[in-house]
Symmetry: C2
Subunit: 262 residues, 2 copies
DNA sequence: TACATACGTCTCTTGTAAGAGACTATCGCT
DNA sequence: AGCGATAGTCTCTTACAAGAGACGTATGTA
């Protein structure tokens, strides 16, 4: 069920049998924990990443000793550990854009009451890097780190600005073009959307991921023409034209503020 | 014996020559980046972790491909990557104490204007897990993730409550007992401090890490008698008795609020 | 121009870690 | 009790990754 399109972490499905490097196993373990989002038994983990049990025990022990993983409450489950949190904070500290972006997103959602997000391209996938829930009761907000097919989102259209058509085709799989409700986008329409978004400097999509929201996005530049991230607002689909317009204005302003002068 | 007390990452010192497991190299690389706190060239990295250059190149490429590391601006330096940030956020999400603790620390420093920190034991070392700078102009605040010898801090005395004397002796090296200004603590005094801190339910140290501040700390419990973390305030050493007293009261209150009922 | 350093890639060897699988608990179920 | 899963440890083999080091390039500097 989770196979979707993503061939797991490793690009190479080397069928069966052959030995796998420990480091790669570890990378798969981390990625697996990231997708499951909860502590898991070592046996299940081994199944989950399709690794031998004995190997998995060994690797997990290394990782637990190093603090990258921690044994969870009941004692025989593992999840991410403090070390990863500390490294993550180091990343934030070393990354102006992210640090300021988180701030702006928090401000924006407080000021507007809407869910606000900072998004980036992460190894060819669209990723919500930070989100702030807004005040509406029903919108529970998507998890940070969630990865969504690029064509489902307004931000996806902005993030691909400046890419060659071939590159875009590489990044977008057939499955990505199928929306959650089963509708199917045309690749050419998507590519046209990208060009349009680049020209207008923002992007709005309605009812793509779900039927009740629309998504407003504006680009954050790290250099001339280089879109490094997007800020976006998730609002009810029946938000009025004027309010939508003024939110877009605000959003573009804030996104521009984040951009490196170029 | 099960708690790898002292081996740490840098337990390398297996003289020279012998091959090292790739995963261990990686763990050393991450730890090294954590201590240097900035992007570094791959060659220097190899020197830093005392690994062969060719190996380091290979490992770094894997890590960059996986997104755990990123090439920094100028192109030939590496630092932590987005993936680590995302994993770190996963950790926060899965960890009530940390999530609420960060919040309380931020509140506390805003309310009091003092630098406030959340601290935990991390593989036998005292670690600042989150800190919020306060409003005083001079206090630039210590970095999150900073590790400090246990005997230098008030929190260290609280975190070791409930440990056997032998365990404490294991965790504290000779060097740890030497303060930054050269003074030397006696291990027995330190152990007595721990007992006293446990009994009184808070701890204050003056002029240990530097001559201008004192440190107030209160324990956060994860179960009966089990100290999981501490909250602490760093205040000027000449803070009045009364203000110190009322800050301690506030601190203990907030720390108790964080504790799991037990 | 020569010399010294550092970067990045590549090849080949061999020490060793990944993996298969046996083994022993310890559950939960009937 | 008997049966089937699952947890955790341990041993042994061999496929393969770690490492040494050569090579080509790009700097800086005498």
């Amino acid at each position: 069920m989770q196979d979707g399109n993503a061939p797991a972490v490793s690009a190479d499905e080397k069928i069966s049998g052959s030995r796998e490097k420990g480091l790669n196993r570890v990378l798969e373990i981390l990625e697996f924990l990231h997708t499951t989002q909860r502590a898991i038994g070592i046996g299940d983990l081994a199944k989950g990443v399709n690794a031998p049990r004995s190997t998995t025990y060994t690797l997990v022990r290394s990782l637990v000793d190093a603090g990258l993983l921690e044994m969870a409450g009941d004692g025989n489950r593992v999840y991410f550990g403090k070390k990863l949190y500390l490294y993550g904070m180091d990343y934030v500290r070393g990354n102006d854009l992210l640090r300021r972006g988180r701030q702006e997103v928090d401000n924006l959602s407080r000021e507007t009451g809407e869910t606000s997000e900072l998004c980036m391209l992460q190894s060819g996938r669209y990723t919500i890097v930070h989100s702030s829930p807004g005040t509406r009761p029903f919108r529970i907000s998507s998890a940070t780190g969630l990865q969504i097919p690029l064509p489902w989102t307004a931000s996806g259209r902005l993030l691909l600005a400046g890419f060659q058509q071939a590159q875009i085709e590489d990044m977008v799989s057939e499955d990505d073009l199928v929306l959650p409700d089963g509708r199917r986008l045309l690749l050419n329409d998507f590519i046209a959307d990208i060009a349009k978004a680049e020209a207008t400097g923002y992007c709005v999509t309605s009812g793509l991921v779900d039927a009740y929201t629309k998504c407003l996005a504006a680009p954050v530049f790290s250099g001339p023409g280089k879109v490094e991230a997007t800020m976006c607002l998730v609002v009810p689909i029946d938000t009025s034209e004027e309010r939508t317009g003024s939110l877009i204005g605000l959003l573009r302003d804030r996104a521009a503020r984040l951009s490196i002068a170029g």
